[in-house]
């Protein structure tokens, strides 16, 4: 499903101290596979995730997702790709603090030009799946960490994406919530989603579902 060919990413190219965050990464990910990217912070996990999600562009190399070259897409298409195919769960949840849970969850659907009733229906389904429907009208500021996490999951799922990308999803959660999160991941895996998680949380060492562990160090894949 995802083919990453010889990706390089250099930050501050023009400056006196360019920083090579990714060095010649090649990786193939099949459909419905679960990938655990591990490594210390600064090893390039997050950069790799952002490139796969088309949040950033590589300095060289190719990324093909479902036959489409996404490493160099005009903005409009990159946005469509992000909206349709990617569910992103960020380390800091990245919710719009001023809005309510439901309003956050409908946000990805706004550019899709659907009417508000369809959008609300989809948001409702997604909230139920993530177990946050009872807090729909509450503002994000009033939520606990675990609830925020579930809200972020609901937002990631609302467009029914093929690919779920998580960046340090359990970094701000306690043990119980982390376990719950893994539970949700396993149901998503059962639904046929492809999952990529970047983490250095040891809780991901033992998972209730089949997964592939990839270790990164200093911008390279060192161990599969």
């Amino acid at each position: 499903m995802i083919e990453i060919e010889n990706i390089h990413k250099i930050f501050n190219e023009k400056s006196s101290e360019p920083f090579e965050a990714l060095k010649s990464i090649t990786l193939h990910i099949a459909k419905n596979e679960a990938i655990i990217l591990s490594g210390v912070s600064g090893s390039g996990k997050s950069t790799l995730l952002s490139l796969i999600a088309s949040l950033d562009k590589p300095s060289s190399g190719k990324i093909v997702v479902d036959g489409e070259l996404i490493s160099k897409l005009p903005d409009l298409h990159a946005s469509h790709y992000r909206a349709k195919s990617i569910g992103f769960i960020f380390q800091h949840f990245n919710l719009l603090e001023a809005l309510s849970v439901e309003e956050n969850i409908i946000a990805p659907l706004i550019p899709s030009r659907l009417d508000i009733i369809t959008i609300k229906k989809q948001a409702q389904e997604s909230m139920q799946r993530a177990g946050i429907a009872h807090k729909a009208s509450q503002t994000i500021r009033e939520l606990s960490g675990g609830e925020k996490q579930r809200c972020a999951i609901a937002r990631a799922l609302v467009t029914d994406p093929k690919l779920i990308i998580c960046d340090e999803p359990t970094a701000n959660l306690d043990k119980a919530n982390s376990l719950k999160f893994i539970e949700i991941l396993s149901t998503l895996k059962a639904l046929g989603k492809t999952i990529i998680v970047a983490t250095h949380d040891p809780i991901f060492d033992t998972l209730p579902f089949e997964s592939r562990l990839i270790k990164m160090e200093d911008g390279r894949i060192v161990d599969e």
Binding site: K57, S60, K72, P74, D75, L76
Partner: protein, 322 residues
């Protein structure tokens, strides 16, 4: 200081034009670099910066165009207001002829609106394609439009600074009247022939739009614009004014006639623009924008209907034709 330059409308108009020109100038300054360094295949930071900048050019052109659409009727309104200050003028017709800059300016404004409309179409196609294929072309096109806009801005200033409040100008009855065989219609047409041509061209244009013949649409819509202008000035206008000798494209913009002129001319220009835009995007970019076509059909039909309605209403009220 010239009294004309102190009237509210002129100040607001010139201020608006200067602001818009200032923004356009910003867009103009960044364009040459964009054209020179644009390379979509590059992965450099610079290319990303350029892509972002092209959005600035787009935003500015979009904003300016939206405002220019508002400013065209405002310009007409302004010169209409000036007819109070300038001796001899009863409506905008005299003012626009007050010096040699007026008529070219008005024409240029309409041309620029049409061109920037095409630019927006091209821009949309560019953004929707996978690799920004038209960016360079669209930027060159922008430079061309900018050149016209600079001329327009210069004409704006020249025009308003050269209106004399001491020299009387001619009234519309002199400019458009046909007394003593002066100001005859083009090609020696008489009124029935003109009307026949008007309706024939309209039917032809509708047929062309239905059959999606690009070249046909371009030719007929331009012809129609030309003939419709004369028909309104020399025939339908007299029914709006309910006076057989009153032939003027400007008086109908005044309050006495409920500002109906803005609707009449607006519908005609919008209709012709939409047909042209449809034909060009079909011809050059192979796109079949049906919404555009339907809109054009609606606007043109409304225009013809509105004009004919004036005649019908007059006839049913008075039982005679003018």
């Amino acid at each position: 200081m010239n009294e004309v330059l102190l009237s509210q409308e002129v100040i607001v108009y010139l201020l608006s034009e200067s602001l818009l020109f200032g923004l356009l100038f910003v867009a103009f300054i960044i364009t040459p670099l964009l054209i020179k360094r644009w390379n979509f295949d590059a992965f450099t930071q610079e290319q990303f910066r350029l892509e972002n900048r092209s959005y600035l050019v787009m935003s500015i052109v979009f904003f300016v165009m939206a405002l220019k659409i508002l400013l065209l009727p405002y310009f007409v309104y302004t010169i209409d207001q000036l007819s109070d200050i300038v001796p001899g003028a009863m409506c905008g017709a005299g003012i626009i002829k007050a010096n040699g800059y007026g008529n070219p300016l008005l024409l240029l404004k309409i041309i620029i609106l049409f061109l920037s409309g095409f630019w927006m179409t091209l821009n949309r196609l560019d953004l929707e394609a996978k690799a920004y294929p038209y960016t360079k072309r669209k930027l060159w096109f922008f430079l061309f439009i900018f050149m016209l806009l600079s001329i327009e801005f210069a004409l704006d200033i020249l025009y308003f600074t050269h209106i004399q409040t001491t020299n009387p100008v001619t009234c519309c009855s002199v400019i458009f009247g046909q007394m003593g065989g002066s100001n005859a219609l083009f090609l020696g047409l008489d009124t029935p022939m003109l009307l026949l041509l008007f309706y024939l061209l309209f039917v032809l244009l509708v047929l062309m739009l239905w059959s999606k013949n690009s070249l046909g649409i371009i030719v007929t819509s331009l012809l129609f614009l030309f003939v419709a202008y004369y028909s309104v000035v020399y025939f339908y206008g007299t029914y709006i004014y309910e006076l057989p000798t009153h032939k003027c494209p400007f008086c109908m913009l005044q309050q006495e006639y409920y500002f109906i002129g803005y609707l009449v001319w607006g519908l005609l220009l919008v209709g012709v623009f939409m047909s042209l835009d449809y034909a060009i995007s079909r011809w050059l970019w192979k796109r079949d924008a049906l919404r555009l076509r339907n809109f054009a059909l609606w606007a043109l039909s409304l225009f013809v209907l509105l004009c004919s309605l004036f005649v019908v209403v007059y006839y049913s009220k008075n039982g005679v034709l003018l």
